[in-house]
Symmetry: C2
Subunit: 337 residues, 2 copies
């Protein structure tokens, strides 16, 4: 049904609509793109495309705009990811370099992505579950307080204060620290519960109460934070873009961490881009937005996802290029750390 020319027409419609934000008519199309046919012919193709649901008219006597389905086809078959310019690549490198710790890497990444795409950027912190234990530290803070610090190989640090103990001796802490590190060093975080299960029994009886407290807090810190951390930037870019949903609703949705995480969706390969267009997205207030996301991590291991949110009417090739490039760079930075 859809011959090459009809696809070319669809592509042209998407491109023009994205750049002008106005319904595009047959005449304008014939002029701006060299399709080699007259407006009338284009009109015929248009009715075909409309019948198939790829484009729609806001009202009679207006031009056409792409539907979600139209964008979908465009993304899947009519466009190629646009690589970044050398200048942009250099910008990424200098901007992400010089970050001193994980917090700063994430903070810079999200700002960078927002700036590059001129849209809202989201970056998820590297997941705990995919990392392994680098070191566990116990710090006596007083006779009844101990601080536990868990350091992962992805640079993430979790700390907890354990309070209300009775009479903690230096020696007990020292013993426990050794045992813990011996049992856990290098283990994946999801292996931790098993690895520490019978650890108390290997200790002297007088050390066991402390061990129990520490272990319970340690395990808790692994699951409790299952709600992952996410940061966002570039909300200013939302203003001024026409949304069918009210801007307020969109902003509200984006302030819910839970929503953000669901938005990034199931993790894919670091080099794989996921595009979710308009109503393909479950959340009501985000029906008129699209999400371009990618996983990032070190090697072939995906640690977390990042992406951008913008109007369905967005520059998909450019956005996809930026997301992919940033995902790769941040991966390499993490690896180099």
């Amino acid at each position: 049904m859809l011959n090459d020319r009809k696809l070319a027409v669809l592509r042209a419609i998407v491109e023009d609509f994205v750049s002008t934000d106005e319904p595009v008519g047959s005449r304008a199309l014939a002029e701006r793109h060299s399709l080699g046919v007259s407006p009338a012919t284009i009109r015929n193709d248009m009715v075909a495309l409309e019948e198939e649901g790829y484009i729609a008219q806001p009202h009679t006597s207006a031009g056409r705009i792409p539907t979600d389905k139209g964008y979908r086809l465009f993304v899947d078959r009519l466009s190629t990811v646009k690589p970044l310019s050398p200048a942009e690549r250099r910008a990424i490198e200098t901007f992400l370099g010089g970050a001193v710790d994980l917090d700063e890497i994430v903070a810079r990444t999200v700002r960078l992505l927002a700036q590059l795409t001129r849209q809202v950027a989201i970056v998820q912190y590297p997941s705990l579950t995919r990392s392994s234990v680098q070191h566990v530290e116990l710090v006596p803070l007083g006779p009844q307080r101990v601080m536990m610090v868990l350091i992962t190989n992805t640079g993430r640090v979790e700390q907890r204060v354990i309070d209300g103990l009775d009479r903690v001796s230096e020696g007990s802490v020292e013993h426990l620290r050794r045992s813990l590190n011996q049992a856990l060093a290098g283990k994946w975080l999801n292996e931790v519960p098993d690895a520490v299960a019978d650890l108390p029994e290997t200790l002297e009886p007088e050390d066991r109460p402390l061990a129990a407290s520490v272990l319970s807090v340690l395990l808790e810190s692994l699951v409790e934070r299952h709600e992952e951390k996410v940061v966002m930037s570039g909300t200013a870019n939302l203003a001024g873009m026409g949304f069918s949903a009210s801007l307020r609703d969109v902003l509200e949705a984006l302030e819910e961490n839970v929503v953000l995480i669901r938005l990034l969706g199931e993790a894919g390969d670091p080099s794989m881009l996921t595009v979710r267009i308009g109503a393909e997205n479950s959340h009501e207030s985000l029906r008129s937005t699209s999400i371009v996301s990618a996983g990032y991590g070190v090697g072939d291991q995906t640690l977390a996802k990042l992406g951008v949110v913008g109007p369905t009417r967005m520059d998909y090739p450019g956005t996809m290029g930026a997301v992919r490039a940033v995902a790769r760079y941040v991966g390499s930075i993490l690896a180099g750390q």
Copy 2:
């Protein structure tokens, strides 16, 4: 010049304008407030208030709206901070309780404040410079890498990886850890540079290279983060409020950390509220916004500031009450930790 009744009229204008968002005229004023005089009299008072610059007319035949100067007078002399309802107090307590670490306290606080005031909330992380050293930990990560973790009495944790060392021995690390903690425990952070100045000389010669590296990173982590961390929430509340400046500009300004910090301004007493109205604020894009801020901390020691940003046309008594209450609560939570 301004007798009591004129002040009452100004107060009434502010209150009505804040609640209706429309210029308020003499008739409506006479009806809604029992001022005991006729609209004509109110009109006479209005011209006086206008001559003094407290109110203005958007155009000839419209009602009056308060000017920045009018709001200022209202805040300084015509209003009292509105205490929270018991229900709201309970909400604060349950919402802020159950936070496990500093990150979460701050994150919850900012959300709470945004929800309570229905505006944009800003919370600054407790400043490093006002806290003291709780503990310094050194963790060997490998033959050439050591992680330094600095724990402050405000629960803040700074960590840095030190790389490229040669052949670190367990013993050296152990020595240095002891010396560091002995020299620094309890010291204010601004005393740290002095306290460690001659520490290397007290060590064995073979430990000194490591000490030098660690110290330089330690000192760096104190100053470098002078750019304080700030979090924000509630931007959705900006949408739908009429701004003279474009929403985009406001959002853009609020995404700049530097701007946010300047916005919170000089720290005041924890119990002291600062209100900056409209053009009193230096930043161009924020001419039509007001900032209500307060310091928070433990005891009488201010660790950082928090506040909310909203349109100049805001409910000052209510907002001030919420900011003050939240500042106090978060202070008490920090103290209890």
